[in-house]
């Protein structure tokens, strides 16, 4: 047998998050940004494979959607994984200071300035 190619992943996705299909209390937005904490970096060697991947991916802030794309798992799984990691202070979430009706006027005006100078 040749072990050169990695074995395909047969583990069911829900096994990765210990059987929970609903995220713990939070409903993280697709665009919510996640960043590894110092504590997360320190704890990394002791973590499971997927948590380690999240620690690596989030050394620069990236969104929930990007984590899903890079890990090849669906958003429900990412939400549970990340919520757990937030609870253990392994990663931090960006604060969003706008509500469901969208960004406020000040945020929109800054966005316009930034787009115009892009």
């Amino acid at each position: 047998m040749n072990d050169a190619t990695p074995a395909p992943r047969f583990v069911r996705q829900f096994a990765l998050v210990k059987g929970r299909a609903r995220s713990v209390g939070t409903d993280l937005a697709l665009e919510a940004l996640v960043r590894t904490t110092d504590h997360g970096l320190e704890r990394r060697p002791a973590l499971g494979r997927d948590q380690q991947r999240v620690i690596e991916l989030c050394q620069e802030s990236i969104s929930i959607a990007e984590i899903g794309a890079h890990l090849h798992v669906h958003l429900g799984i990412v939400r549970v994984l990340v919520s757990d990691m937030v609870a253990h202070n392994l990663v931090a979430l960006s604060s969003s200071d706008f509500d469901e009706t969208g960004p406020d006027l000040r945020t929109l005006e800054r966005l316009l300035d930034e787009l115009e100078t892009l």
């Binding site: 937005a29 665009e31 904490t37 959607a65 669906h74 960006s94 969208g102 960004p103 930034e114 787009l115």
Partner: protein, 203 residues
């Protein structure tokens, strides 16, 4: 003078201290099949567009294309998206809507808290964008109608399209070459200007 901090925080790459984290904003890119949604995202995104998947909820599980009732929990809906880092404090995400209209639950999620939407239109198939326009009207999400000029050609002029779609006069209708970064950028600027006008009108 607008201060540009475009030199990325590269010098401090080893620092893991969370400074001020960027604020994520998002724009939805909608439209009919092959209207140019992914082309639009690709033209302005700083990353090669990625695909993320979400499981379909039971409510949206229905009759699949093969004519069979699907109840598999593994059924997923895929979305393409891109990213623009505008400054240290702003990251803009562009999410393309899933192709089929039956994935409405995903539209709700994409629209929640969004700056607004770009509705891509192929003027040869105007009817393909009706669902998107109805949806954003109903959700009161600001949107811009972007007529994709395939090969520089518009099958109908802007006023004709506005009439045909009976769009609110306040909604901007623009011609866009979805392959061109500058053109997609102008469409985004129009959208944000429109969103600002809407906010101001609301008081």
């Amino acid at each position: 003078m607008s201060s540009r901090h475009s030199e990325q925080a590269g010098g401090t790459a080893t620092s893991t201290k969370p400074a001020v984290m960027a604020k994520p904003l998002k724009v939805v890119v909608a439209g009919g099949f092959a209207a140019g949604k992914t082309t639009f995202v690709d033209a302005i995104s700083e990353i090669v567009p990625l695909t993320t998947e979400a499981p379909m909820t039971n409510l949206s599980v229905g009759i699949d294309n093969a004519g069979e009732v699907t109840t598999k929990t593994t059924t997923t809906v895929a979305m393409d998206f891109g990213r623009i880092t505008l400054s240290e404090s702003t990251m803009l995400y562009l999410f393309g809507t899933p192709g089929q209209d039956r994935f409405w639950f995903m539209w709700d999620e994409l629209s929640k808290g969004a700056v607004g939407a770009i509705v891509m239109v192929d003027t040869r198939r105007l009817e393909d964008c009706f669902a998107a326009i109805d949806y954003f009207d109903q959700k009161k999400l600001p949107y811009v109608v972007a007529l994709n000029t395939f090969d520089g050609q518009l099958a109908h002029d802007i006023d004709e399209v506005r009439d045909a779609l009976s769009i609110d006069p306040a909604v901007p209708v623009v011609a866009v070459d979805a392959r061109e970064r500058g053109s997609t950028k102008q469409a985004l600027i129009k959208l944000v200007q429109h969103a600002i006008a809407r906010r101001k009108a609301q008081g």
